[in-house]
């Protein structure tokens, strides 16, 4: 953490990381130059050239693309033509999909049109508004004074109660909400039982998949639940500090979390006696130097170890071999935030909150073609139809064509599957997945092949480049898809794409490469018109 934090601080002070700046850092720290180059060139926040007075980052990914991001970008270029003080960059999903098309001015101000950008540049900007999740029902506390009650009760308890926490989590059916859906109680039990220590604790707050913004809303509006879930986790596995790994585009969440950590210290929840008299517990926010791949748990650990954020080969898994080789408990924001209410009301209570035999509550980020995009807290097992209705229905009175239930890694399903319950298993059976709960509705007039290609392009853009299949395969596939969308498909393209997808899925090191082409294959399978166009180059 120390080296990357030094680099971030240097860039903050000097505007960029020039060769000269890095040479000085190398002299001061004894780090070889090659290592600094490896880091500077890998992480998107670092820049070598002097920074312009202003930067505008415009999202290029699927939801913003649906809402005119390309046109927005072109209008901005016109409006700012000849202005050397302003740099306009296309970036991957900013996690503001409910405000699509999204742009961020000077790293902290929100804009969704040219007027908004101009106002921000003139000093009249604002951050993305803090909006609460609709129907949030996972806070067990009547008021702020009662916060951390669950943790304070438990930390006074006997050792055997640690096992009871794990039992409650197992009974609740809670699964990892970052996308993989691994049973949380099992993960806690593995980490608690792992040999070696001190145990490490990390909250993965790096949600970056296009369409995903639910953790942002949870961190901004219910930060105490996440901090408390982490504190309970620390108590159960025996960790003394927690690290919140936060994507750098969430500056407002960083501020809110730091305030909450300070409040928890004031309340005696964190600090020298956090885990009981003389037993310290503290937490800190680590700002990611950027990139979707950092949300992959082992890439995240590599970053915390001041390396290029490239996923590790697994096994071993972080529960046994995590940060600095130590057993590490790592969960997503939403997962940690569910812990207090589960312990307050019991695993069975949590389980009973779902519908259609699915356990618990789920925060869904809803965007795309709906009237009221936003984050919705719904019973797990709510049908897609119900979720769309909650979000005001398909926008503009249009019909639903398709939906992506869980983010760019989950395949689009046709409208006739909208009676599927939102649940890990049910979505998998339907041919897709719940992923990170990034629901994107697609209306009848959309070009699905274009959207699926945009998703493949996202994975190509965010590939770390470590392994051959993902680095080369995702790039070749996007080139081939772009040619096809331009009306010149290579002969036998559908078959070739299937072969590429198969090799990426079977041989890539991490989930990014494994799913990179899945959305494209998905639309070929479920929407014959898409497969036909890849064969003959016809347009929609």
């Amino acid at each position: 953490m120390k080296l990357l934090q030094s680099m971030l601080a240097l860039q903050e002070r000097e505007g960029s990381l020039s060769d000269e700046t890095l040479r000085r850092l190398a002299e001061r720290t004894g780090e070889p130059l090659y290592r600094l180059q490896g880091l500077r060139s890998f992480y998107p926040v670092f820049r070598e050239d002097p920074a312009p007075a202003h930067t505008i980052e415009v999202c290029r990914d699927v939801v913003c693309r649906m809402h005119g991001a390309r046109e927005f970008r072109a209008r901005l270029a016109d409006a700012l033509a000849g202005n050397a003080d302003v740099e306009v960059k296309e970036v991957s999903c900013l996690g503001r999909c409910e405000c699509a098309p999204a742009a961020v001015v000077d790293h902290h101000m929100d804009a969704r049109d040219v007027d908004g950008v101009m106002a921000a540049l003139a000093g009249d900007g604002h951050a993305t508004p803090v909006v609460e999740a609709r129907d949030a029902a996972t806070d067990p506390y009547p008021d702020a004074d009662a916060h951390y009650g669950v943790f304070r009760r438990f930390r006074e308890g006997a050792d055997q109660e640690r096992g009871q926490v794990i039992d409650a989590l197992k009974a609740s059916g809670l699964r990892g909400m970052g996308g993989a859906g691994f049973p949380t109680g099992m993960k806690w039990a593995f980490t608690r039982g792992a040999k070696g220590g001190p145990k490490q604790l990390v909250c993965n707050a790096d949600e970056s998949e296009p369409g995903t913004f639910k953790d942002r809303v949870i961190m901004e509006t219910l930060p105490h639940l996440m901090i408390e879930g982490m504190a309970v986790g620390a108590w159960v596995v025996g960790a003394e500090r927690g690290i919140i790994y936060l994507r750098h585009e969430y500056g407002q969440a960083a501020e809110i979390l730091r305030q909450e950590i300070a409040r928890a210290r004031d309340m005696g929840v964190l600090g020298p006696d956090g885990l009981g008299k003389g037993k310290p517990l503290d937490m800190e926010v680590f700002i990611s130097p950027g990139g979707y791949i950092m949300g992959e748990e082992t890439a995240l650990l590599e970053a915390l170890e001041d390396k290029r954020g490239e996923p590790r080969n697994k096994p071993p898994f972080p529960t046994n071999f995590g940060l600095n080789g130590l057993p590490t408990l790592m969960n997503n924001v939403e997962t940690f935030a569910a812990v207090p209410i589960i312990l307050e009301r019991g695993g069975e209570w949590w389980k009973s909150q779902g519908r259609n035999d699915c356990p618990g509550l789920k925060y869904m980020a809803v965007s795309g073609d709906v009237e009221r995009p936003g984050v919705y807290c719904v019973p797990m097992g709510t049908t897609v139809n119900d979720l769309i209705e909650r979000a005001g229905g398909v926008s503009g009175g249009r019909k639903l064509l398709a939906f992506s239930p869980g983010g760019s890694s989950t395949r689009f399903l046709p409208a006739d599957k909208a009676d599927t319950p939102l649940d890990f298993d049910a979505m998998q059976e339907a041919g897709s997945g719940l992923g990170s709960g990034a629901f994107v509705a697609v209306a009848e007039d959309r070009d699905l092949l274009d959207l699926a290609t945009a998703q493949a392009r996202f994975f190509r853009n965010e590939s770390c480049g470590k392994c051959v299949p993902c680095r080369v395969g995702s790039s070749k596939a996007v080139t081939l898809l772009d040619e096809a969308l331009g009306g010149r498909p290579q002969k036998g393209l559908p078959g070739l794409l299937r072969e590429l997808d198969d090799t990426l899925a079977q041989t890539s090191i991490c989930g990014l490469g494994q799913v990179a082409l899945s959305p494209v294959i998905g639309v070929m399978d479920m929407f014959p018109e898409c497969a036909r166009r890849l064969e003959d180059g016809g347009s929609k």
């Binding site: 090659y34 490896g38 060139s41 890998f42 480049g465 392994c467 051959v468 041989t507 090191i509």
Partner: protein, 225 residues
């Protein structure tokens, strides 16, 4: 059986190895040759080229150079499925590979081209990456020629330079498809702190790092020009 040993079968043959042994190393003991480009017995395995993937009955194939053996594992190293994926990986690498490999032309031991022959890759269906974005060459070192287009990012030179020789010069730079190798802060090799020890070109499996013809060396002292 001692508790530190694990028993498994590879291609139907039983073997017992110390816990922590990789599948690739265990296979070698049985004289089973699993192809690989990024691994070398002198180095820490990194599992990036993925050519050494094998089937252990898991959801996906496993890179044998980094995957530890497990008790009761049944490993298959050359099924049609495994071979199919190896061919696709080779096709990916060959699609960006230059027409002429400096290694094949000089010492004749280009490992990528050797595997292409072994797997019968006769045509490549993927677009040529060099067509619109050539990666270039670096002839600034008097003794080592760098052809970035022939680099498959196997990481052998990086480990050779930084971990075997401790010269600390080479890194991967950039990210994704644009990743390549670089020296120091991405200086030309001849202007970097490279001491021309030659380890990188000795371990390079392709035409990316090769011996530069001596004709480029200036015989006059530099300050005498």
């Amino acid at each position: 059986m001692s508790k530190d040993m694990v028993k498994l079968s590879i291609d139907g043959r039983d073997i017992e190895v110390p816990e922590g042994t990789t599948i690739w190393d265990a296979a070698r003991e049985l004289d089973i040759d699993i192809p690989v480009l990024c691994h070398s017995t002198r180095m820490r395995p990194v599992g990036v080229c993925r050519l050494c993937v094998v089937d252990v009955g898991a959801r996906n194939l496993q890179a044998s150079c980094v995957r530890p053996c497990e008790d009761g594992m049944k490993v298959e190293t050359d099924t049609p499925k495994v071979e199919r994926h190896r061919r696709m990986l080779l096709e990916m690498l060959l699609s960006d590979y230059p027409e002429d490999s400096a290694r094949e032309a000089s010492t004749g031991d280009d490992e990528l081209l050797e595997l292409a022959v072994r797997y019968g890759i006769e045509s490549v269906r993927l677009p040529d990456g060099a067509a619109d974005r050539p990666r270039g060459v670096d002839l600034s070192s008097p003794v080592i020629a760098v052809d970035h287009q022939a680099c498959i990012l196997c990481d052998r030179c990086v480990r050779g330079c930084d971990e075997l020789q401790h010269n600390d010069v080479i890194t991967r730079t950039g990210k994704g498809y644009d990743t390549r190798i670089a020296f120091d802060l991405d200086a030309p090799m001849g202007e970097s702190t490279c001491v021309a020890c030659g380890e990188c070109m000795a371990v390079c499996p392709t035409g990316a790092l090769t011996n530069q013809a001596l004709g480029n060396v200036k015989l006059k002292p530099l300050n005498g020009e």
